[in-house]
Symmetry: D2
Subunit: 368 residues, 4 copies
Amino acid sequence: MSGNTFGTLFTVTNFGESHGPAIGCVIDGCPPGMALTAADIQHDLDRRRPGTSRHVTQRQEPDQVEILSGVYEGVTTGTPIALLIRNTDQRSKDYGDIAQQFRPGHADYVYWQKYGVRDPRGGGRSSARLTAPTVAAGAVAKKWLKEKFGTQVRACMTQLGELPIAFESWAHVAHNPFFAPVANVQALEDYMDMLRKAHDSCGARIRVQASGVPVGLGQPIYDKLDADIAYAMMGLNAVKGVEIGAGFDSVAQRGTVHGDAMTPQGFASNHAGGVLGGISSGQDIEVSIAIKPTSSILSPRPSINIHGEPVEVVTKGRHDPCVGIRAAPIAEALLALVLMDHALRQRAQCGGVQVDLAAIAAALDTPI
Amino acid sequence: MSGNTFGTLFTVTNFGESHGPAIGCVIDGCPPGMALTAADIQHDLDRRRPGTSRHVTQRQEPDQVEILSGVYEGVTTGTPIALLIRNTDQRSKDYGDIAQQFRPGHADYVYWQKYGVRDPRGGGRSSARLTAPTVAAGAVAKKWLKEKFGTQVRACMTQLGELPIAFESWAHVAHNPFFAPVANVQALEDYMDMLRKAHDSCGARIRVQASGVPVGLGQPIYDKLDADIAYAMMGLNAVKGVEIGAGFDSVAQRGTVHGDAMTPQGFASNHAGGVLGGISSGQDIEVSIAIKPTSSILSPRPSINIHGEPVEVVTKGRHDPCVGIRAAPIAEALLALVLMDHALRQRAQCGGVQVDLAAIAAALDTPI
Amino acid sequence: MSGNTFGTLFTVTNFGESHGPAIGCVIDGCPPGMALTAADIQHDLDRRRPGTSRHVTQRQEPDQVEILSGVYEGVTTGTPIALLIRNTDQRSKDYGDIAQQFRPGHADYVYWQKYGVRDPRGGGRSSARLTAPTVAAGAVAKKWLKEKFGTQVRACMTQLGELPIAFESWAHVAHNPFFAPVANVQALEDYMDMLRKAHDSCGARIRVQASGVPVGLGQPIYDKLDADIAYAMMGLNAVKGVEIGAGFDSVAQRGTVHGDAMTPQGFASNHAGGVLGGISSGQDIEVSIAIKPTSSILSPRPSINIHGEPVEVVTKGRHDPCVGIRAAPIAEALLALVLMDHALRQRAQCGGVQVDLAAIAAALDTPI
Amino acid sequence: MSGNTFGTLFTVTNFGESHGPAIGCVIDGCPPGMALTAADIQHDLDRRRPGTSRHVTQRQEPDQVEILSGVYEGVTTGTPIALLIRNTDQRSKDYGDIAQQFRPGHADYVYWQKYGVRDPRGGGRSSARLTAPTVAAGAVAKKWLKEKFGTQVRACMTQLGELPIAFESWAHVAHNPFFAPVANVQALEDYMDMLRKAHDSCGARIRVQASGVPVGLGQPIYDKLDADIAYAMMGLNAVKGVEIGAGFDSVAQRGTVHGDAMTPQGFASNHAGGVLGGISSGQDIEVSIAIKPTSSILSPRPSINIHGEPVEVVTKGRHDPCVGIRAAPIAEALLALVLMDHALRQRAQCGGVQVDLAAIAAALDTPI
């Protein structure tokens, strides 16, 4: 009930504070018999970690993961997989003033009100640093989904502040610091340089996609697949909006346009974003998220202190001028975790159904 | 894990099919000692029920609720509150053909793939009729929140198809069939008449707001208040997008604009939508949702049958040309359920905190 | 968290009060595709229901079950199965005085302290009548287990008050009102007649057994199969003790005796009671439970009222002089619910393991 | 669903294997504002750890606990408390043969069947070593219960193999290696020496008690306090039986004897063991558990290997000849975890009840 565990059958229990001794998670429910090494996990952690370009925080954290349990001779045993990441670059003195003040747009005030006590160093528990364990767990889910169904989960940036980014190819995403699906990112580089000089920050829009998703994932009333995706994405720090398929554009669409026609060769369009009635249809899952501008900026901002007195807050520290830049691997991880969880649920409840659906599935070109 | 229970401490377990004997729910976790009668619940059911104007389905369902348990001499006892609504107007013959075909935009195909068997009458479990038990449970949560904190939850339509609806006043919402916050709804009436003649349907945008929300509701990492709101709203039938506060507009905002300044008199703006770091700030919770156009339309649509053969589907039955019209009371119920659940969680974990927060809370004009 | 839901994947949410309008439950997680009718459930309800012999309460309750959802054309659809049992024979006036007094050995006092309000009619929520929905749900689980694995769950009485009952055959159990595994129950009849004349009550010991249980059910650390069985059994009204296998006798056993040797022909003994390290071994699950004497007796008992003043309580009403007599079908249901839940868990987590265990399983003569 | 998390509101997620890099747990739901240091936890770990007398395993494990999160400047923050214990004395070579054989009375066979893969070193996940994280978490619960309610949880041995141990005083328990409540333990020493020479092992009976428990903990139908206690205790390695209050003796008791009379001065007896209708009555919680003899013995035992062939197993390693000897602190921890969880549940659901129960509580001499 304390909100630190993600999932129902494939669960991730997250722990740690930004400047405490360590962060990490315990993954429970991973099926036995899957090959797994720290390297499988480290890859995604490296994609998320800070300090990799001049456009993100310069905090140097290697984010080296250690597998403490659940893997024997390189194979998962079906028991909890505990992952540990030691914090190494904590400059807590940067946060001295913050303990007495509430930074606008941050969780300082609400933590104070909620708990009556808080760890102010680097945002403590509310730091985006705590997405690292989520990314680590997501790497395990990604691997299982890929081996089991051929599922591929990926994300890219589709807007940076006022700049829309026209999709060119997934192939470009790995070759620039913005996770942008374009060959030339000079405009993005210039935009970020401008922002930094202005001591300001900006938002971003991220597209997340899963292909090779089996039909039938999701539950009918409350734990719909899209509901759980929305939960996962809105829970990512700084996210203020989530869309599935046509999203907000569907408001002005007509029914004759929006409803995806079905043919013996498959669906004719994908306004639904791969989810019908809360259950995956076998089409690509398409998600879009809005990320707000970073609240930690060098420009002075009016606020109050813990005594309710007015103060002016300047957030020094080392921060990302656009937290959206590093969001792509985190969003991938979250989508993978949701899919994995629902895959296990489907296996639990419907694993024994013996109805022959092969013909129809083949006709629609969807994996079972 | 089967997705029919909403919430963690204040739980709602939903059952029933559109044309089965009955629908209903079991509410568990309602605190004892609250006055409660069927009339308290019936009011919101009546706001949601079909057949109340020419713009919604003409199915006649009184949706009369019976309290089966959990209330003794008009007071909640702390034990499960079971609510029963008998289905009375089932014209199952309308759905004869549907059992062999998949309606585009509907859950028919995915249910078939998931379960291998389905109740095709009126959409069975995937019918929007199953939102009635949610509304009933939401009425209980609303009452408790109002008595405990003075919380008020309300919703209105802000766009109908292509027509944006400029907000005039909450006072208008109860006086037109659209839940529109405007005095004159002639344009909306005309638009719906046009659509009906065209055998088409449209989407809608709904605004949901909660005021009088205590500070401190929500959990830090995964079960953030906004994450749980997104889960609740995206789980409402036909919803394709969810925004909190500035939502997708925040992508193009700068940090100097977006972050809500704090003053001894309170927050200076509410781009956050009442949630910071996943925890309520005491400001109004502001949510906006996108609802897709109804998939059940009289225009013929290409699809396939259970043998994978092409067919043309015409959905006869009696359907809402815009499911968004009846969505407002459901969205209110969902927001109330999320807030209630988090209020109990907060009481469980932090009920004993003795830190004196009165001064700061008074300064910021927020309830504790 | 309010304790009215049993299970994790196959869940039963119980509602109702002894003298309210109805009792019932919502079963969630039942796999689709199983034939199910009310008659399948009614059989076990009839075994449990009151008024069937002079040795149990004379309350006349037909306990007629209605399936409200989750079954379409006689087959489970994978959606929640709601079961409703109307209360028909409520003589609430029998309980008039009780509202102001606390009956010794009953839950009156603790409900008062816990909730501040309670439904005193017939014990309200604490009545053993609320085991009926558990029995109904258990019948569904039993049917699934039997069809899937050939599992058979049964229970019998092994002691009535001071009288031990030597096991003769399971075949006798259905032919006497005591669920006793003996041909001649005259001694039991006489014992009960004596007790009734003495205005007293007695306890009982029940043996519960499941055969045909697949190997591998149960979780390693906390949700061990035996732990969940103990939870289920101790939760049955009036149970004060639970044993698995050798139970308390194992305290004085030596390791050379207790540990069940394994041979290519199977286990050589079953002191473990079918559970090793919390996981089923394929042997029969053997459980024994102790049921305390009924607290509701006609003999006057000293107690206090809600003002803390001394009173003398005589429980009139219509009560079982030995609640253990009707416990056998309830205990069966509880064991079936635990096994079913773990069978689905096993399918979720390890459903994909492809290791060939056939040879060893065959050698040990255990189902997979 | 994978059974590695204990509790519902105060949760403990356990990880690790006996001979892996580390064991530990994540505690979630601990209220903020409680002083907590590693020393508070280390005390109970030291009481449980091996190597402290010649009657227990000679494995040398300091079981040094590190707090990784959730505590800031010596005070709990309300966020997850991760606890880490590195494994230091792993002699994995002792277990070489075991990887291909199934030790009688152990979990080897069932793990193999369940997961298809297992960590055989020291029993892997099924080792009693995994009770250390439970003990660590229990120490946190104990501290909170003591500070909040004055609750005291303690355990002692009441039987060692065939030797009953007459209760003298709780004061003796800390002064002998058996947790025996007697001044002179020579007979116990002799008995253990005899057993060790005989290459055999024995069982034990442990009494667990909590005093100062508030009235009202426990839920009415399934999550009864005694049900959750039974679950917790039966889940402790090697436990085969659990009793509450009069336990199995209640079978032969009459209702006139068993039901604890109430007087204005309090309850007149405690056959109920502090639980009525599944809810704490304010009396001492009294629990008794049966622990089977250690399965790992030096005497050769017939078994089979993974190919189903007959083998003779001699368990070398370093094992406890009576695992019951170190069970007392573990049983205490489990009882504390159950009570803490229910205390938070009670706060969530009934925290707001304003009924004045002070008078009656005072009359009955029970804490509120």
